[in-house]
Amino acid sequence: MLALALALAAWACGHGNAHELDLSAGWVPAADAPAAGTKLHTPPPPFSEGIFPCSECHEPDMPVNTKRRELSMAHQEIVLKHDAEHRWCLDCHDATDRDSLHLASGEKVPFEESYRLCGQCHGDKYRDWRAGVHGRRSGQWDGEKEYLLCVHCHNSHAPKFAPIKPLPPPPKPERTP
């Protein structure tokens, strides 16, 4: 018995796991997310049918009403739940170039790169997203990854995730009589 115990103990102390991860010599902190300027491959924005280009309706000679108000002529379905107290349409949508968005600096941003607009407030999410850690990822873990735009998952006017129906629970185990 003692011999067995000793043998086991000796084994337990001496055995080196062949696949043990040794990062002592080579631990390098993870690379930063791709730099902010890097263009990322994303699918086209998920516009509703017939909504884009915006300039189809918002013609250049149309007067721009910058007042906060209840929308009555169009876009009535939009209920802003995105820090609505401090924000209005034209904080993000460009009043002069209706097919474009703009940053706080005034720099115009196409809808295809809307993540830059989101990222100016949500910097931590933006960084995580570029690294592939915020959001859903597909593609190759060792190569080309498919990114989604923020707006593929979040409604930009009400970005909080809506609760969803769960798939059914597993059956409880039953005894055999």
């Binding site: 796991n17 062949a18 696949h19 043990e20 991860l21 990062l23 390098v28 902190p29 993870a30 690379a31 997310a33 995580d128 690294a131 592939g132 850690v133 915020h134 959001g135 859903r136 990822r137 597909s138 593609g139 190759q140 873990w141 060792d142 190569g143 998952c153 995730f161 609760p163 969803i164 129906k165 769960p166 798939l167 059914p168 629970p169 597993p170 059956p171 409880k172």
Partner: protein
């Protein structure tokens, strides 16, 4: 199964000398299988023969062309997984994607991922966890969700305890099972602190039209009754560079996967920038499955 070769069967039974032990299963065993070597010692020809045999069996049983691979581990790759529990909403999309991808039995229901609903105020408390929650919508207020599957431990107690070496850790860190070698003693299930292993208590059933024909011999190929199975991180996908099915399906993007040795991988980013923890760290199993708070 194939029509058994009677003489070989007789020989086998005589040789084994324990007719009682073999009474139930003799018909399924051929001479070659009886004297087969351990998976790691198979010659390339033997292994090829085994892959071909599985292909033939699957084609007969499910009537479709299947591809059984034995893609080996890649050099310089150590897999790890991370799950953002501040994002998981408990929708179980991962559970069902896993079942579809990995050919789990539909009846009896075998699921490799178990999603536990926990009371927020109790923290991570298995004693009060509920895997059977159902609701109109999730997340339910006051609850968090903790999906659990194989943790692919660095120091796996299941591997240590298997009396025949039918389960082992691959060079890339995936813990696999040879379903042809497992004797079904369930020592590994007793040893696993994460309830990750499932036993085929009866013949698994898998509708032919739902069968995934992209198979790995140590992964998602259909299993026989009487053996243990578990998550393999979709070994048939990840060794081809793809993400596990659960990673791709997760609607909130809570699941992350990658190569620990690659500094630009998502997994290294998580370890570097986030607060991570592992389940039951006091047991020193050193899981390769990290949970983190992304928020």
């Amino acid at each position: 199964m194939n029509a058994p070769d009677t003489t070989r069967r007789d020989f086998l039974c005589t040789l084994a000398g324990c007719a009682a032990a073999l009474a139930g299963a003799c018909g399924d065993v051929t001479h070659t299988e009886f004297f087969r070597s351990h998976f790691k010692e198979l010659t390339p020809e033997d292994l090829d023969g085994i892959l071909k045999k599985i292909e033939r069996e699957c084609e007969t049983k499910y009537g479709k062309d299947v591809d059984v691979k034995n893609t080996p581990a890649r050099e310089g790759v150590q897999f790890a997984y991370a799950l953002d529990i501040s994002r998981c909403v408990g929708c179980r999309r991962c559970v069902y994607a896993c079942v579809a991808e990995n050919n789990q039995s539909r009846d009896p229901v075998v699921q490799w991922i178990r999603v536990l609903e926990m009371d927020k105020e109790k923290g991570i408390d298995f004693e009060h966890a509920n895997p059977y929650y159902d609701a109109e919508t999730v997340p339910r207020p006051g609850h968090t969700y903790l999906p659990v599957a194989c943790q692919h431990c660095e120091n796996p107690p299941c591997v240590k305890t298997c009396p025949v070496g039918a389960t082992w850790k691959e060079p890339d860190g995936i813990v696999v099972i040879d379903y042809d070698w497992c004797i079904g003693c369930r020592c590994c299930m007793s040893a696993c602190p994460y309830g990750a292993r499932r036993f085929n208590w009866k013949e698994p059933s898998l509708p032919a039209d739902e069968m995934n024909p992209n198979l790995h011999v140590l992964g998602n190929r259909p299993r026989p009754k009487g053996v243990v199975e578990k998550c393999t991180w979709c070994v048939h996908r990840v060794r081809d560079g793809r993400y596990p099915a659960c990673v791709e399906v997760c609607p909130v993007g809570a699941r992350k996967f990658g190569n620990l040795l690659d500094p630009s991988s998502e997994i290294r980013y998580v370890l570097d920038k986030k607060r991570v923890f592992v389940l039951k760290n006091e047991l020193a199993t050193h899981p390769r499955f990290y949970y983190f708070y992304g928020l």
